[in-house]
C-alpha cells in the first residue's frame, strides 16, 4: 500500500511541503534542483536484482513514487502509476530529470559498474529522506543476493506498512506564527568564471581521512562542519580578493541544517533549514583563524530551537498568507521565480551540505566500499559543495558549472598545507 493518503484517505495525492513549494516554481526547462547520493559496492551491480529491489523499495517508501501536477493555486504530488526503471549512469550527473519522458518520476536510480546512485528532485525529499531511501534500496538489493540486513540504523523494513509520520509536513507541525524572523539579508559575493556549453557539471571529489579532519577540528575546538565551512569560506574569500579586490562583497556560505536534530519527527520529506555564516572583507582582511572564529560562534548562536523555529515560521507564514494562497499558480510561479532571481541565490556565495557520517547496519556496511554525496548545479551561483563520510574516508565533492577550479584549488591546497592527505577524482577532461 502506498502512503499517499495523508491528505485524504480516499485520494492519492498530497500537498507539497513548505520547502518543496519553491523548487518547481524556480525550475526551468534546463535546470532543476537535484542532489545525488551514491553507494559503491565491492562487486559489480546486478541490474535485474536492483530493479526488483527498487520495485520493493518504492512500494515501501511510496513518497518517492510521485509525479508533480499543477493545481489552480499550488502544485501537488500525485501517486505515479508508472514503474521506476534503473538507468545507466553518465559522466555529467544531476542533469534535468526530463520527468515527462521518464514516466513523471522525480528521482532516478543509476548504475555504473559497482556504484548505485540516487538522484532526487529536492521537492520530493531532503538529504535525510534520500539517504534513507538509498540505504533501504541497497539493503533490499543485498537481501535479493541472499544477505541478511536488519532493518535498523536508517534501513526501513520493506515488509512493514509505511507510517503516516514518514510523510508528515513537519514544517506545519512546528510552525509558530508568533515567532517570525526578518527577511532582510544583504547580497553576497558570487563566484565568476567561464561557463561550459552542453550542461556539463564539473565534479571534483576530494577523499580525505576523517581522522585527519577530526584532529584539525579538535585542535581548534570546533566541529567538523564548522571547520570545513571555515576552510570553504576562506577559499572563497581568497578567490574573491584575487578576482576583484576593489569590489568586495560579503562571502556567505549556506549550510543546510537537518531540523530533525532539533524537532521530533520521522518525516522523510523536506525538513531542513539553513544558516548563512558571513565574512565581510570590507571591514578588514581576514586570516583563517578569524574566519573560523566567526563561523564557530555564528553557528553556535544560530542553531537554537527558538531561532530555527523563527526561521522556519518566516517561510510558512508567507505560504499561509491569504493573498499568496489565492494567487493562481502560474502568477505565483512568476512571482516566486522573480523573487528568487533577485534575492534567492544572490544572498549566498555557495552552499556546503554536510550529510555527515553514514550510519548503517554492520552487515550492510561490509558490502559497501564507499558513500558519496553531491549537490546538483545551483541555478545562478556557480559552485556547491557536499560532504559525507563513511568507513573513515570523508568525501568532499565540489560540483561546479565553470571551467575554472580556483575555489577547489584554494580549498584542497589549504588542507594539504595543514598536513591532510587529499586524493582527487574528477570528471574534468573526460
Amino acid at each position: 500500500m502506498l502512503i499517499f493518503m495523508e491528505e485524504s484517505d480516499q485520494t492519492n495525492w498530497y500537498k507539497l511541503d513548505n520547502a518543496a513549494k519553491l523548487y518547481p516554481a524556480i525550475s526551468s526547462r534546463r535546470w532543476m534542483s537535484i542532489y545525488r547520493l551514491s553507494i559503491k559496492l565491492y562487486e559489480p551491480v546486478d541490474k535485474d536484482m536492483l530493479q526488483r529491489a527498487l520495485d520493493i523499495t518504492v512500494n515501501r517508501i511510496g513518497l518517492f513514487s510521485c509525479r508533480l501536477k499543477s493545481g489552480m493555486f499550488w502544485y501537488y504530488f500525485e501517486k505515479n502509476p508508472n514503474r521506476a526503471r534503473i538507468e545507466e549512469d553518465a559522466v555529467n550527473p544531476c542533469i534535468h530529470m526530463q520527468s515527462r519522458k521518464r514516466g513523471g518520476h522525480l528521482f532516478r536510480v543509476r548504475v555504473y559498474d559497482k556504484r548505485i546512485s540516487l538522484e532526487v528532485f529536492h521537492s520530493v525529499a531532503d538529504g535525510h529522506g534520500g539517504v534513507i531511501f538509498l540505504k533501504t534500496l541497497v539493503a533490499e538489493y543485498l537481501k535479493q543476493k541472499g544477505i541478511f540486513i536488519p532493518a535498523q540504523r536508517g534501513v526501513l523494513d520493506c515488509s512493514e506498512q509505511p507510517s503516516k509520520e514518514e510523510t508528515e509536513d513537519a514544517f506545519l507541525r512546528y510552525y509558530n506564527k508568533k515567532s517570525v524572523k526578518s527577511w532582510k539579508e544583504s547580497r553576497a559575493y558570487q563566484v565568476s568564471g567561464t561557463s561550459e556549453e552542453g550542461h556539463t557539471l564539473y565534479i571534483i571529489n576530494g577523499l580525505v581521512s576523517v581522522q585527519d579532519i577530526k584532529q584539525l577540528a579538535k585542535k581548534h575546538q570546533v566541529s567538523i562542519t564548522e571547520y570545513l565551512t571555515a576552510v570553504y569560506m576562506y577559499a572563497l574569500y581568497i578567490v574573491q580578493c584575487h578576482e576583484n579586490p576593489l569590489k568586495i562583497r560579503p562571502v556567505k556560505v549556506s549550510v543546510p541544517i537537518n531540523l530533525r536534530a532539533f524537532f521530533d519527527t520521522k518525516t522523510l520529506r523536506n525538513f531542513s533549514s539553513y544558516v548563512n555564516p558571513e565574512i565581510n572583507a570590507n571591514w578588514g582582511s581576514y586570516n583563517f583563524d578569524e574566519v573560523l572564529y566567526v563561523v564557530h560562534h555564528f553557528l553556535r548562536s544560530e542553531l537554537t530551537k527558538k531561532n530555527l523555529t523563527a526561521k522556519m515560521s518566516k517561510n510558512v507564514k508567507a505560504e499561509k498568507n491569504i493573498l499568496v494562497r489565492i494567487l493562481p499558480l502560474h502568477l505565483k510561479n512568476m512571482a516566486i521565480s522573480t523573487i528568487y532571481h533577485m534575492s534567492g541565490e544572490s544572498r549566498m556565495t555557495s552552499a556546503l551540505s554536510n550529510i555527515g557520517l553514514m550510519d548503517m547496519p554492520e552487515e550492510m556496511a561490509a558490502h559497501i566500499e564507499r558513500f558519496d554525496a553531491m549537490l546538483g548545479a545551483p541555478r545562478y551561483n556557480r559552485i556547491n559543495c557536499a560532504v559525507c563520510a563513511f568507513k573513515g574516508v570523508m568525501n568532499i565533492c565540489f560540483s561546479s558549472t565553470i571551467k575554472e577550479s580556483n575555489v577547489e584549488r584554494e580549498f584542497f591546497t589549504f588542507l594539504v598545507k595543514q598536513g591532510v592527505h587529499v586524493k582527487l577524482e574528477t570528471n574534468r577532461g573526460k
Binding site: R29, A90, I95, G198, R409, T413, V416, G429, K430
Partner: protein, 233 residues
C-alpha cells in the same frame, strides 16, 4: 599513484593533468596509467532539446494562414494588392520577431538584434514597395531602424560590462534624446527639405539634464546614501 607537483594532491592514475591547476601529470614509474578503471562513466546525458525546426514550421504556418487569407481576399475584391500588404508585412514582422530565436543554435543578443533589424527593414520595405515615388523608407525608416539597433546594442553592451545603474540610466537618457533629435531632423528633411529643430529641444534638454544629474549622483556616494536613507521602503 601520482601527485600534482603544484598542489600536492594525489590524483587518479588515469588523470592526465591536475584538475586544480592544470599542471600535466607525468609519472615515469607508471607506463600504463589508463588501465585503472574510471570513477566516472564515459557516456554523457543529453539535455532536453527544443525541436527548433518544428517550431519554425509551426509558427510559419500560423503566420502564413492570415497572410494568405488577406492577400486572397484583397485580390478577389479589389483585383490588386492594396491594404493586404500592410497586414501581411505586419504579420511577417511579428512572426520574425517571435521566431528569430529558433533560427540560432546559440542565443546571443547581437544575432537576435541583427535578425530583428533585418526583419523590421524587410517588413517596412514591403509596406513601402507599392509607393516607389514615396521615399520615406530610405530617408526616415531606414536611418531610424539602424539608430535603434545601434543604441540597443550599445545599451546591452554597457549593461553587460556591469556599468553602474546610474551611469547606464544616463546613457539611456542620452540615447532617447538623440533619437528624438534624429527623428526631427529626418522628418524635417523629408517634409520641408531643411532642418528646423523646433520641438525636439523640449525633450532633449530635460533628458540631458537628467543624464547630467545621474552622472553627478553616481559620483557622490553621500547623496546616494542620503536618498536611500530617506526613500527606502
Amino acid at each position: 599513484m601520482s601527485y600534482c607537483v603544484n598542489c600536492g594532491v594525489e590524483l587518479e592514475r588515469a588523470q592526465p593533468s591536475c584538475p586544480l591547476c592544470g599542471a600535466a601529470v607525468i609519472n615515469p614509474m607508471d607506463q600504463n596509467p589508463s588501465c585503472e578503471s574510471n570513477t566516472f562513466p564515459e557516456n554523457r546525458d543529453e539535455p532536453m532539446k527544443i525541436n527548433r525546426g518544428f517550431w519554425i514550421k509551426f509558427s510559419s504556418i500560423i503566420a502564413a494562414v492570415p497572410i494568405a487569407t488577406c492577400l486572397l481576399l484583397n485580390l478577389l475584391y479589389d483585383m490588386r494588392l492594396t491594404w493586404s500588404i500592410f497586414v501581411s508585412a505586419s504579420i511577417f514582422m511579428l512572426w520574425a520577431f517571435c521566431t528569430s530565436p529558433f533560427f540560432f543554435r546559440r542565443f546571443t543578443y547581437k544575432k537576435m538584434l541583427l535578425a530583428d533589424l533585418v526583419a523590421a527593414l524587410l517588413g517596412l520595405g514591403l509596406i513601402a514597395y507599392p509607393f516607389p515615388v514615396n521615399s520615406w523608407y530610405l530617408f526616415v525608416a531606414l536611418p531610424l531602424a539602424v539608430y535603434c539597433y545601434l543604441a540597443w546594442l550599445l545599451i546591452i553592451f554597457l549593461s553587460r560590462k556591469k556599468l553602474p545603474v546610474l551611469v547606464l540610466s544616463a546613457v539611456i537618457s542620452v540615447c532617447i534624446s538623440m533619437l528624438l533629435v534624429l527623428l526631427e531632423i529626418l522628418l524635417d528633411v523629408y517634409t520641408i527639405g531643411h532642418v528646423a529643430l523646433l520641438w525636439s529641444w523640449f525633450v532633449v534638454v530635460p533628458c540631458l539634464a537628467i543624464a547630467g544629474l545621474l552622472l553627478l549622483l553616481d559620483r557622490n556616494k553621500e547623496v546616494q546614501h542620503e536618498i536611500t536613507k530617506h526613500l527606502h521602503f
